[in-house]
C-alpha cells in the first residue's frame, strides 16, 4: 500500500498583548486557518480540509504559542502560503490580533519535535542575553539548566531501560 505522506508545519503564534493568550484553542486555530485558505485559494482550498488526513492541528501550546499543523504533502504549500493572511483569531466574540510565523516544515512529528527542542534552547539562550534584572536572569538560567538535566537523564535511562517497564500499564 502506498504510504500517506504528510507535512508538519511548525508555526509560532505571535501576539501583541500576551494577556490574551487564553483564547488559544485548537478549534479556534483550525477555523481561522480554514477561513484563510478559503479566502486565498477558493473552493480548491476549502476542499483540502475535507479529505482524509487533511489539515489538523496536532499540537498547541498556549503559553509559548507553538502550533503544529499537519497537512497532506500535496497541499502543504497551499496551506503555508495562506498563513500570512491570518491576522486575527476569534473565540466567542473576542478578537485577538496575531500572526503566524512558520519556523519549520517536517515530514514527521518526530523531526518537528527534535527541531522544537533545538529552537527552544536557542530561544532560552537569547532570552538570557536580553534579560534586564537579576531575578529574571536567575529564572532563565534555572530553566536552561532544567532542560539540560533532562537531556542527561534521558540519555542515561535510554540504555538501561528494560522492556518490562514499558508494559506496566
Amino acid at each position: 500500500m502506498v504510504r500517506f505522506k504528510s507535512r508538519y508545519l511548525l508555526c509560532e503564534l505571535c501576539v501583541s498583548e500576551p494577556s490574551s493568550l487564553h483564547l488559544f484553542e485548537d478549534k479556534v486555530v483550525y477555523q481561522a486557518l480554514r477561513g484563510a485558505v478559503n479566502r486565498a485559494h477558493g473552493d480548491y482550498g476549502a476542499a483540502i480540509f475535507n479529505i482524509t488526513l487533511g489539515v489538523l492541528v496536532k499540537y498547541l501550546n498556549a503559553h509559548t504559542g507553538v502550533v503544529l499543523i499537519r497537512c497532506r504533502k500535496a497541499h502543504y504549500r497551499l496551506v503555508w502560503s495562506s498563513l500570512p493572511f491570518i491576522t486575527f483569531l476569534e473565540n466567542r466574540g473576542q478578537k485577538v490580533r496575531c500572526f503566524f510565523n512558520c519556523i519549520h516544515v517536517g515530514g514527521t512529528i518526530r523531526t518537528s519535535q527534535k527541531f522544537l527542542i533545538k529552537y527552544n534552547r536557542q530561544q532560552l539562550q537569547r532570552m538570557l542575553l536580553d534579560c534586564k534584572t537579576d531575578a529574571e536572569k536567575q529564572d532563565v538560567r534555572k530553566a536552561i539548566l532544567s532542560c539540560s538535566l533532562n537531556l542527561i537523564k534521558g540519555e542515561e535511562t535510554d540504555g538501561s531501560d528494560d522492556d518490562g517497564d514499558e508494559e506496566d500499564t
Binding site: F24, L60, H63, R110, N120, R121, C147
Partner: protein, 817 residues
Amino acid sequence: MPGAKERMREKKMKNQPRSVQYSSRGQGSQASGWVRGHQAEGHRYSQDLPKHITASFFAGARAAEVSVMLKAVSKPTGSCQVFTALPKHMRRRAMSHNTHRLPLRLRDAALRLAERSQRGPEKPPQAKSRSRRARRRHTHLLLEFNRRQRRSRWLETHIWHAKRFHMQNSWSYRLPHTPTAKSYRASYRAMDTHTLLQDLSYFCCLELQGPEEQILRALSQLTSKQTGPTFAASVCLSGARVGRLLLYRAGQYPHGALGPVEFLWRPRAPECTHRQLWIWIHPALKQDVLPELQAVCQCCESVCEVSASSSAAAVDELRNRKRKCTADAAELPAKRLLGDGTRAVGDPVRWESADTHITISDLTMEIVRFRLIGPLAHLVLTDTLHAANEEALRGVCVDADLHQQQRDVFTQLRGVCSTAELPAGCVLGLTVSDPRLTLPQRRGKTVPDLQHISTESSHARDLTLRGVPAHCSQSALWDTSVRDHVTDSRLSEQELNRVRSDVLVPGSAVCVSGVCAVPLLLLHQPGRVCGQERLRWGSGWDLLLPKGWAMAFWVPLVYRGVRVGGLHMSVKHAQFMAQPHFPHDYPDCPAGERCQSEQEAELLEKFKRRPPSKRTNYVKHGCVAPFRCPWQQLVDEWAELVELGGETQSRAGPVQFTVLRSVSVLRQLSAWCSSASAVTPAAAAALHQEQQGALLWVRLRLLGKGRPELHAAVCVPTTSDLQQLTDGQSSGPQEPRHPDPQPESEGSRSVVSHCSRRTLGWVQQGDFSLSSGRGEALAFISLSGLLQMMIQHQRSLVLLRNPSSLQYRYAHVYIDS
C-alpha cells in the same frame, strides 16, 4: 469503557505530549490531538494567567515544553528497546524469533521478550474449584441453600417439593405449582375420596395481643357485619372456632376491600382480659393490611429487637461468607435457615401502642401450616399423630388433665366417617410425640376401618353434633417461648437415624428418652358452605406446627398415602367449591388488581409469542376483553342502560365498582335466581339504586355441551334464543363474524353492546367440572344487568361464549349464599 484497541493505542501513545491550552472547563490541559484520556503525570499549569507576564514565565514555559518534547523523542512509540538499541544496519528481519541474529549483549533481553510473548496474557490467579464430591458435602450445600434463599424465600419442605414439582416464584416465595407427574385427575380423586396434602406455610400470621375490648374496638372498623360474622362473633371469640371474614379499609365499607383473612382467638385464660388473636393473611395482602392494622390500633412505635439467635447467626454467616471460601468454613457449623431468615436483622417485627396497649407481631414463617383436604383427612391425622406421654409433657407447659381430654377427643375422631361431618371450623389443640419415631417401614394408604367406626358411633355422634369442647382448643403453640424451646429441642435427622440403626428389629417403634413433645393446633376447614349442592365438599384439616418441624411431620404424612398438591390444586380446590380464589378473583382489592395486571402481561406475552398467522384473531371473534376485563366500564355502561330504561333517577357521578358481598342481599338474589318470576321491577329498581356499581359472583352451569374458558363472555339471551331452547332444536346461537379491521366509529367502543348479545360479565374460572360432569364456570356479572335480564325474560338463563369461538352455549345462573 475503553476497548482493547483504545487501550493499545494509549499504551503506545503514553509518551506523546498533549496540547497545552487554557480551557474554560477547569482543567489545565485538555486532551486533543494525538492522545486522549488521562496523562499519568500531567504538566499542570495554573488556570489563570499571572498578572504580569514576565520573561521568567516564558522561560518556564519553554523549558517545560523542551522537557516534554525530549521525553517524546527519546522514547519511541510502540517499539521495544531491544531492537531500537541496535543501529539500523545491524537489524535483521528474523531477529524477533531467531535470537542468534542479535549480538550477544542483547540476546538475553530478546530471549526474555520471546518467552513473555509465548506465555500469553496474565490472568489473575483463580481459586481452583473443588471436586464435585467436595462441593456437594452437606455443610457446603447448606450454605449454598442459605444463599439461594435470599431472593425468594424457601418453604421448609422446599427440597422435597423441588424434586417432584415445577416451582414458581410468587409473592417472593418459591412455591410448588404443579407436579411433574400427570396427576390432575388423581389429585381430584384424592380431594374427592381420600386426602390431598399442601404446604401453606407461606401464609403470613399477624398476632395481636392486648385487652379484648381494645382489640375489638380497633378491628371493628375494618370489618362490616353485612358481609358475615366479624371478629366479635361469639363462637369465634371463645376460641372454639376458626373464623373467616373479609377485611376492608377503615370505615370504607363497601368500598376499599382488602381481602379475605382467617382468624383464631386463643381460649380465655380465667380472670384475664389479655387476649391473643392470630390473623392469617395471604402474602399478597400483607403490604396492604399491615399499615391498616397499625393505623387502626395506633401502633406506631416499632420494637426493633434482636431476632432469634438462629436467624441472626444465619444472616451474619451470609454476610461474612464469600462464595468460594467454603474451605475455611470450619468455625461455625452451617445452620439451615429457619423462619424468615431473609429479613434483615434490623427490620421491625413488633409494633406497640402506648394508648391502646395492643402489640402487633409479625409471625411470618414462624408457624408451619399444612392443609389436608378430603374426607379421610382425619384418619390420616389419627394414624400419623400419637399423643405424647406424660413425661414428655414436662418441657411443654401443658396441663395433664387438659392433655388427657384432648387425647380423648382425638381418639374419638377415628370413629367419624368423614371430615365433612364435623361442625365447621372447630379447633383442637394437641401435644404429640415426634411422628418420625413411628414411621412405618414402607408407604401405605390409610383406609377407613369400618368396624371401628360402627363401634365408636356414639362418641363420634357427640363430636359431630357439638364439635370440640371449648377448653380443648387450648394449646401451648400460642407461647413464643414454648415454640422456640420445641424448635431447638428437635432431634436432627442424623441422630435419629443413628438411634434407628441401633434398634434390634428394623422398622419397630423407636424409643428415645428425654425428647420433647410437640404442641400443635388442628383447625377444621369446612369446605363448601354456600349453595345447595355438594355441601361440605373439600373439607379438611389444617395442621399448625412450630417452625423447624415441617419435614418431621411431612414425611410421615406422605407415608400414609396422601397425594400432594401445589398452587394449581388450591386454585382448583377453590373452583370446585365455587369460592373465589385470592388474589385472582378479587378485582376490587389492590392485591387483586396487581394480580390482574400480572395475568394480563402474561397472557399478552403468550399471545405475542405465536406468529401472527397462528394467533387467535380476537377482533374477528368480537372479543373485547381477552386479556383483562374492564369492570369499571362494564358497570358504568350498564348503569347508563338502566337509566335509559327510565325507571331510576340519575345517579350523582361515576361510582367505583365493588363486588357485592352483603349476605342478606345475596340471599335475596339467590332466591330470585331460583324462581326468576318472583322479581318485580320495583324491587329490582330499589336494589339497583341501593347497590350502585355492584358486581356479583355467580356460578354458571352449562346445560349441554361446552367447556368455558378464562374470560369467556356471559351474555343476555334474546327471546328467540330462549324460544329455540324450549323447542329443543339448537345448542346455542352463533355470533356473526366481526369485520377486521374494525370500521371507524366515533367515541370509545362500548363493552356491553359490542356483540349481538349484550355482555353481562366475564368468566374468571371455567373448566369442565369433574364432579358434576359438565362445564362449570365462575364469573363476575353486573348486578343491574342481571336484574334487567330477569325482569325481561323471567328466567335465569344466560349465554356463554369463549373468547376464541363464535358459538354461544346456554348456562344456568346460580348464586350461592
